[in-house]
Amino acid sequence: MSAPLHLAVALDGAGWHPAAWREPDARPTDLFTADYWAHLVREAEAGLVDLVTIEDAIGLQSDDFDAQDDRVDRVRGRLDAVLIAARVAPLTRHVGLVPTATVTHTEPFHVSKAIATLDYVSSGRGGVRVQVSGKAHEAAHFGRRTIPPFRYQDVLALNAGQAPELATLFSDLFDEAADYVEVLRRLWDSWEDDAEIRDAATGRFVDRDKLHYVDFAGRFFRVKGPSITPRPPQGQPPVAALAHATIPYRLAARSADVVFVTPSDVGAARAILAEVRAEQSAAGRGSETLHVFADVVVFLDESPRAAADRAARLDDRAGETFTSDALVFTGTPSGLADLLQEWHAAGISGFRLRPATVPHDLTAITRGLVPELQRRDLFRRGYEAPTLRGLLGLPRPANRYAEATS
């Protein structure tokens, strides 16, 4: 297989279409049970995908960009994604587990040990998607800082190079996120791999010279360290970020192992790749692997017509046409394989597919798309590595502190 592509499945509620929960095969009353998530993640694993992501947020879902809505016709409520990932870890063996964590309002010390522990309970399959919260109403859930409200139009203006006040706010939020990831990573390295010595002769359980204060001091916060949790099995669980524009590309380029991007076509994919790679070089990480995964929402059926009809039926039920930040693909698994192949040839290393409805579009991925990609020699036929880093072709990293002392 020349250049295999990577596949991720993005799990969120009953699927990404707002009417997904009303489908006959949906299980909307089970969304808050472990069994529901175990089924989905096992299905993804049956499709040999690299990883699943689990969406999360620090507030209730809302269709309003900058406020809490009071809609009753959509899925509302969700469980903590790190806990869902941990809950399904012992029930799966190969698939990577990448929950979302909000970095704006949480403590890097807590999240660092949570992801390290996810890595332990999954024997090296943990990762994390870091997410910034810029929403005023989510800040009110913590009451420790205020974030000024802004509208979606303001974000578009920002992306077009206008709205300087918002640029400052966004840069600060993403700089803070970069510091946060730096702290996560330092804490994961704060124990060398062989720090636990159990030396009965000297009575020492650990070699304290192999434990390190991270002594992080940045613009936004300080953290002392070391972690209370030893270095996780992968050393550094992969860090992912979703990015739509320059400021978040910069965060990903500085800090992440995987960036999820949202090109609308292959030309946009090339342009995004160029920008991400330029930021990566500027961050001094040109020689490191930074996977660029394209996000695609998928409606998959046996004919393009059937997929389009189903999408239309769902839109009808929702009372509006579904739109997304990512490309919405409506068609057959084979048609999707064509698209993935083309984008892959343009330099996109993997894809994060967002099933419009589950289980329908999830099983279409695992039982339709995956065999099709395998026929084209573009996807694995079995899990070839025991860790998520292994699946992503990332080596187990050296410990920064061990390097410094040896």
């Binding site: 009353t29 472990a34 209730l60 790190v82 309002h105 070391p226």
Partner: protein, 446 residues
């Protein structure tokens, strides 16, 4: 013969000198398999719950990380969620501090754990407040000691409001009508007090237990009041008969003023045990375990925590230091609970000296005497009798057992002591309910 039912829980061995890591049978304190082993053993024995302690900074002594005990532990929520996948009934209880966290986040983690475990979550609310631990947290600026329980009370009150912000009947998921939520305001909350000023919508629907079972561990008067007002169970260190009975009477006596009855707050002391084929075997084994728990170096370090000065020049097999402890802020040991127990170090040192003189003990032997006494030593029959006697005598409602070995330290207890308690009719032979509240016999939420 039957009587008051005994409650039992299993404490995962960890960061303290109770845990004997040098035993050849000692396994990992971090690998998930160890947690699975202990939790499954406890579940096989029909224990009420599995318990995790917490510490948010590595302990230090003399300016260096303390290296003689087990160091390192996993994240509480993550381990408990994973354990929910490999157990079915046992309660999953975690210690989570109310100073270094925020109510919205902790409430959603516990509500999530309760969903993912089908109603088995428990929260031991602890209040360590020190700036030393605070250095690990971005928000800095931690609490004066005097405010630790004010914050804890308000934290728990706020979390409870969040838990109650969903009544449990909102999700109708009527696909035909397109109504997912019956109530457009599900999860709405607004809370203002000295410590928190928060509002919005809580995003986890009501969990099977409504809220986690609440445990409290803290010994001061303020701690006992906090427990009496709000907790379902109290994790104490008073496991002997006299101290247990005094504590039991004290905390149960505080309930009435909060409109609560004595059965609404269980008293569960920490307890260690050593089993043998005969009582004599067990006594001998217990002596060995104590010497492994308190090496000469451990004894010196422990004495330094009291003396608040460097004692590395002293011989652990010699007499106690002839100087008095340094009174005032403890600069020698940081992040250690024991330090906070020595409120009057000179008086404690004098007690130690009296003990040494009376029994002709070395420094190490004194430390062995005064620290972590084994509560239950003997054959299975003896230990079952001791446990039941203490419970029937209202020294406790049961025990949180702290094995000294990871992860097999509960195996023998499960196989030998539990059946004897069951024969006496004082311990369940099957789980009767499915939730932790059920196991603790707590009845519906107030």
């Amino acid at each position: 013969m039957t009587g008051k039912q005994v409650h039992l829980a299993a404490h995962f061995p960890g960061v303290n000198n109770t845990t004997v890591w040098s035993d050849p049978a000692a396994g990992s304190h971090i690998e998930f398999d160890s947690f699975v082993h202990l939790a499954r053993t406890a579940e096989r024995a029909k224990f009420d719950f599995f318990f995790l302690a917490e510490g948010l900074r590595l302990r230090e002594q003399g300016g260096q990380i303390y290296d003689l005990d087990v160091v390192g532990r996993p994240d509480t929520f993550t381990v408990l969620a994973a354990l929910a996948a490999v157990t079915e009934r046992i309660g999953l209880t975690g210690t989570i501090n109310s100073t270094f966290n925020e109510p919205y986040e902790v409430a959603r983690q516990f509500a999530s754990l309760d969903h993912l475990s089908a109603g088995r979550a428990g929260w031991n609310v602890v209040t360590s407040w020190d700036a030393f631990t605070g250095e690990n947290f971005r928000r800095g600026g931690f609490l004066p000691e005097s405010e630790r329980y004010t914050r804890a009370k308000q934290f728990l009150a706020t979390a409870t409001e969040l838990f109650d912000s969903w009544r449990g009947d909102e999700i109708v998921a009527d696909a035909d009508r397109g109504v997912f939520l019956a109530d457009p305001n599900a999860g709405a909350f607004a809370h203002t007090d000295d410590h928190f000023d928060i509002s919005g919508r809580f995003n986890v629907p009501r969990s099977p237990q409504g809220r986690p079972v609440i445990l409290q561990a803290g010994d001061s008067d303020a701690g006992r009041e906090f427990a009496a007002a709000t907790a379902d169970a109290i994790f104490s260190r008073h496991g002997t008969r006299e101290a247990g009975q005094a504590f039991y009477a004290d905390v149960k006596g505080r309930l009435a003023k909060y409109g609560r009855t004595p059965d609404q707050l269980l008293v569960l002391p920490a307890a260690t045990f050593v089993l043998g084929d005969t009582d004599a075997d067990a006594q001998e084994k217990a002596g060995e375990v104590r010497r492994l728990q308190v090496s000469g170096q451990t004894a010196i370090k422990f004495a330094e925590q009291l003396w608040n000065t460097d004692l590395s020049g002293y011989d652990p097999d010699g007499p106690l230091p002839d100087v008095d402890p340094v009174v005032g802020e403890n600069t020698i040991a940081r992040g250690r609970a024991s330090v906070r127990m020595f409120r009057d170090p000179i008086a404690v040192a004098n007690q130690w000296r009296a003990l040494a003189a009376e029994k002709n003990l070395s420094l190490r032997e004194v430390v062995i005497e005064v620290t972590g006494r084994q509560n239950f030593i003997g054959s299975a029959a003896t230990v079952a009798e001791q446990i039941n006697t203490l419970v029937q005598a209202d020294a406790s409602d049961g025990f949180i057992l702290v094995p000294h070995l990871t992860p097999g330290g509960l195996d023998e207890f499960a196989d030998t002591v539990v059946p004897l308690l069951q024969e006496r009719g004082v311990f369940r032979t099957e789980y009767e309910g499915t939730t932790l509240r059920d196991h603790l016999g707590l009845g519906p939420l107030p």
